[in-house]
């Protein structure tokens, strides 16, 4: 198990390195224009461009450039010139609590509903309840996030004023924090809940036909215990994979639409800003930040996988 975890972590580091190189090349080498000028912004003075050139190492060789830029990003000294001279890393760090609040809350909702609906659907497979849940899930999957969020904002905050308009409130006031996040949570969770319920349904139907489920019934376990401990438990393995990937993407700044629409100044919001201003240092930092979380959660998934399915643990050490 230790060997497995160490190998996965080393693999993750290698992947991160590769991503950072790739991002560096895409942003600095591929475009034909002067990168320093792009960083300095549209109305930069020649002096500023010179400073940027020095700061970002454009006067040096490519490996040195890479090193300089990564140092800037990872030590928190990178400054955005287009976005009011803010410190990029600080801005990302400020965004993390917002993004985390949004993603963790939404994840709890989508996991709860995804698993519940998938379970109900699978247990009544082919029946009326299953068809009803299927329709609900398909509606959830097909509703665009921006549309759902706009509907919420218009009817529930503007027309009825059931929820506060938008923006983020710190967790120090939990009531206010939650009331500001409920609508974003739901908007973000609906798609995933629908999707996860479909995945769980088909996974459960597969597992129900497994021989060990028949064994569990033959030894006289209650129907509930059979479905929860044997069918559901084994069906959750694909859900874990999906969750790791989806959650990694979102927490790495992927909830761009939700954060922008609800005015939540998280990592996704910052990404939108950076993209809007074509601010390359920020985009680069956010991309590497996002990649970091995707790889991190992928590694967690692999390790969780080995925990959930003991065959994998031994499978890798035997080969």
């Amino acid at each position: 198990m230790l060997r497995f975890a160490v190998r996965r972590l080393l693999g993750a580091i290698a992947v991160l390195f590769a991503i950072s190189v790739l991002v560096f090349l895409i942003f600095n080498v591929v475009p034909a224009t002067n990168p320093a000028q792009r960083i300095a912004g549209k109305n930069a003075t020649p002096q500023l461009i010179k400073n940027v050139e020095k700061e970002w190492g454009f006067d040096k060789s490519l490996p040195e450039q890479y090193w300089t830029q990564m140092k800037l990003i990872f030590t928190g000294e990178a400054t955005s010139y287009s976005l009011a001279h803010i410190n990029i890393d600080e801005r990302i760090l400020e965004g993390i609590p917002v993004t985390a609040s949004l993603c963790i809350g939404a994840a709890i909702i989508w996991l709860a509903f995804g698993i519940l609906l998938g379970y109900i659907s699978a247990m009544n497979a082919g029946g009326l309840v299953d068809r009803f849940v299927t329709v609900i899930a398909l509606i959830g999957i097909s509703m665009p996030v921006f549309w759902l969020a706009s509907i919420f904002l218009y009817y529930l905050t503007y027309k009825v004023e059931l929820f506060p308009a938008s923006g983020y409130e710190p967790l120090s006031n939990p009531g206010k924090w939650a009331s500001h996040l409920i609508l974003p949570w739901i908007s973000l969770a609906v798609l995933f809940a629908g999707f996860y319920s479909r995945v769980l349904r088909s996974s459960m139907l597969d597992v129900m036909n497994e021989d060990y489920v028949r064994t569990a019934r033959a030894k006289g376990l209650s129907q509930r215990r059979v479905t929860v401990r044997h069918v559901l438990r084994n069906s959750l393995i694909p859900i874990v994979t999906l969750f790791g990937l989806d959650f990694g993407v979102l927490i790495g700044g992927g909830a761009i639409i939700t954060e922008s629409l609800f005015n939540l100044e998280g990592v996704g919001y910052f990404t939108a800003e950076a993209l809007g201003q074509q601010d390359f240092p920020s985009i680069m930092a956010v991309t590497i930040f996002g990649a970091f979380f995707i790889v991190l959660f992928n590694t967690f998934v692999d390790i969780a996988y080995a925990y959930l399915d003991p065959r994998i643990r031994l499978g890798t050490s035997a080969v």
Binding site: R3, V6, R7, L10, S317, A318, V319
Partner: protein
């Protein structure tokens, strides 16, 4: 079966395997993989098959019989050793060099459900090799395939059907027709009846027997069921832990085994005769 004892035109055996070895490395290490050990799947086996005879290769799961089969056919690259077909060394030949030999050596697989492409029609499955090797095409191809289908006990009308429309026994017949399409000299049968019902097993065994007589085929018959192997084989090689522990005339090996493992294997086979098995039980409990 006894008329197959003549040893080829060239005098030597059709297939001669000498000291064939296939090891799979076991890799381990925290950071970098090192080869720490080997699985000696096939650990230096030698045997020969004469033209027109059937060699039975019998062993339990993990004995290496299937790996041996694949290594002989060069589907797996042998670690070392020599495989001679009609006196010519084929171990280590490139894919291209092996291609003409694929016409001469064919294989019948265990699982008639998994070994047929479900999206292809029977005619295509059986005729594909003929087409690829440019033996026949068009009308000629169809006539040949229909002839093959009839020969293995199917009907020519099955030409346009799909595999799922057939029972397990019929699918195995399709697999046999496919293997025989190019008129091979040597056919490897890898557990061809073990996935089939008892009554169908006998049909397939009889079919293989008939085809051997008609077409002068040579078989290597690989199976775990020593009863079936003894029925169809002229000679038997018993495998255990990657080695051949005993070879000899089929009846000789089954009636007077010399090796301890062969004895153990034979003693474990249930005898479908209640009085016999009672007597045997009493013998073993008394002894």
């Amino acid at each position: 079966m006894s008329d197959g004892a003549s040893t080829g035109t060239a005098g030597g055996p059709l297939l001669e395997v000498t000291d064939l070895v296939k090891h799979f490395p076991i890799k381990s290490g925290l950071l970098v993989d090192r080869e720490v050990d080997q699985v000696r799947a096939v650990d230096g086996i030698s045997f020969y098959v004469n033209k027109g005879e059937t060699l039975g290769l019998v062993g339990e799961s993990g004995s290496g019989k299937s790996t041996a089969c694949r290594a002989v056919l060069q589907l797996l690259k042998p670690t070392s050793g020599s495989v001679k077909f009609e006196g010519r060394e084929i171990a280590g030949l490139s894919r291209r060099e092996l291609r003409p030999l694929r016409r001469e050596m064919q294989m019948i697989f265990q699982d008639p459900y998994a070994s047929l492409n479900p999206r292809k029609r029977i005619g295509q499955i059986v005729g594909d090799q003929l087409k690829i090797q440019k033996v026949a095409s068009g009308k000629e191809l169809r006539t040949q395939v229909e002839g093959l289908l009839e020969r293995v006990g199917l009907s020519p009308e099955h030409y346009n059907r799909f595999p799922h429309e057939f029972s397990g026994g019929q699918r195995q017949r399709i697999g046999i027709a496919r293997a025989l399409a190019l008129g091979p000299k040597l056919v490897f049968c890898d557990e061809p009846v073990s996935a089939l019902d008892v009554s169908i097993q006998a049909q397939i065994v009889n079919l293989l027997d008939d085809l051997q007589d008609e077409m002068g085929l040579t078989y290597v018959f690989v199976a775990h069921d020593i009863g079936v192997v003894r029925h169809i084989s002229d000679r038997i090689a018993v495998m255990n832990h990657g080695k051949i522990v005993e070879t000899g005339d089929a009846d000789q090996v089954c009636e007077h085994p010399r090796d301890d493992y062969t004895k153990k294997l034979l003693a474990a086979v249930p005898i479908p005769d209640p009085r016999e098995s009672r007597a045997r039980r009493e013998r073993t409990t008394a002894g």
